[in-house]
């Protein structure tokens, strides 16, 4: 894998990591977390889509044989 391909993957994972930290890590100081809030579900849905695409793309990139048989 060359650097050009790696950068978007790292950026995507960085976004996932950031949201995960802000929502799920960190010390709980002000009430419970915001799981009940509708906006959060949207953020999570977005992340799941992102994760699925990260995983799929990476596999296709790293395994050309799979590309041939899967497509």
């Amino acid at each position: 894998m060359n650097e050009d391909e790696r950068l978007p993957l790292e950026q995507q994972i960085t976004l996932v990591e950031l949201v995960d930290r802000v929502l799920n890590k960190g010390v709980v100081l002000s009430g419970d977390v915001v799981l009940s809030v509708a906006g959060i579900d949207l953020v999570y849905v977005g992340l799941r889509v992102l994760l699925a695409s990260v995983g799929t793309l990476e596999r296709l990139n790293s395994n050309p044989a799979m590309t041939a048989s899967a497509l």
Partner: protein, 225 residues
């Protein structure tokens, strides 16, 4: 309402820049510790992606000014200054200890993508679908063993590690390591050597982050690796 970004020591400078929705960032001191907060109209702030990023930016900026920071989880907020004062008073001891534990350290995240299936049933030598599934399950079990090995290896180079998340979702390993600022390059070197040892895996190291994954651990003092 009052939104809390992080806890630092009272002597630390406030981060420059604004908070959620452009609100001014303030410090609220109590007996040696300081909450970094902003004040808002209304009863709560929706945790939109923009709000989460703004929260994270304030925490990052605060980290740049300080030797020890406990990032706050994005919460519902506190009603008023009295609630904030009560919070800092009632949890003063654990927050002070938490600051000590993360002093001088940053957090590095490691994610390893789960390996894809071995091409197809015919290519992995399986004669039937059942054999293929058995081979695939064995591969995944082996991969999870490798994930634990990698975690243990990386944890040796860190001051502390969070409990690793192995084999859930798209990732074979999601984990976080608390590393002294001066050791970040060395830790990244460990990650690179892991990557070289397991060329079939895609390893991504993120950070340095404020120590989110260790703020809760430090403050409540459980699940230490």
């Amino acid at each position: 309402m009052i939104h809390v970004y992080a806890i630092v020591e009272a002597s630390e400078a406030l981060p420059s820049g604004s908070g959620l929705g452009g609100a001014a960032v303030e410090g609220y001191d109590l007996d040696g510790i300081q909450a970094i907060v902003s004040r808002h109209e209304g009863t709560r702030i929706e945790p939109t992606e923009t709000a989460l990023l703004e929260h994270a930016e304030v925490v990052e900026a605060a980290m740049a000014e300080t030797g020890a920071i406990l990032p706050a989880r994005f919460g519902r907020g506190l009603a008023d200054e009295r609630d904030l004062d009560d919070l800092l008073r009632s949890r003063h001891g654990e927050l002070t200890r938490g600051l000590e534990q993360v002093r001088g350290c940053v957090e590095l995240g490691v994610r390893i993508l789960a390996p894809g299936p071995a091409v197809s049933a015919s290519d992995n030598g399986a004669a039937t679908g059942t054999e293929y599934m058995q081979t695939r399950l064995a591969e995944l079990a082996r991969a999870e063993e490798v994930a634990h090995e990698i975690h243990d290896l990386l944890a040796e180079g860190a001051r502390e590690s969070a409990r690793p998340d192995v084999g859930s979702g798209e990732f074979l390993l999601s984990s976080a390591y608390l590393v002294p600022r001066g050791d970040v390059d060395r830790f990244r070197g460990h990650v690179r050597s892991v990557e070289n040892s397991y060329p079939q895996l895609v390893v991504v190291c993120t950070g340095p982050w404020p120590p989110y994954s260790f703020a809760a651990i430090a403050a409540s003092d459980h699940e230490r690796a």
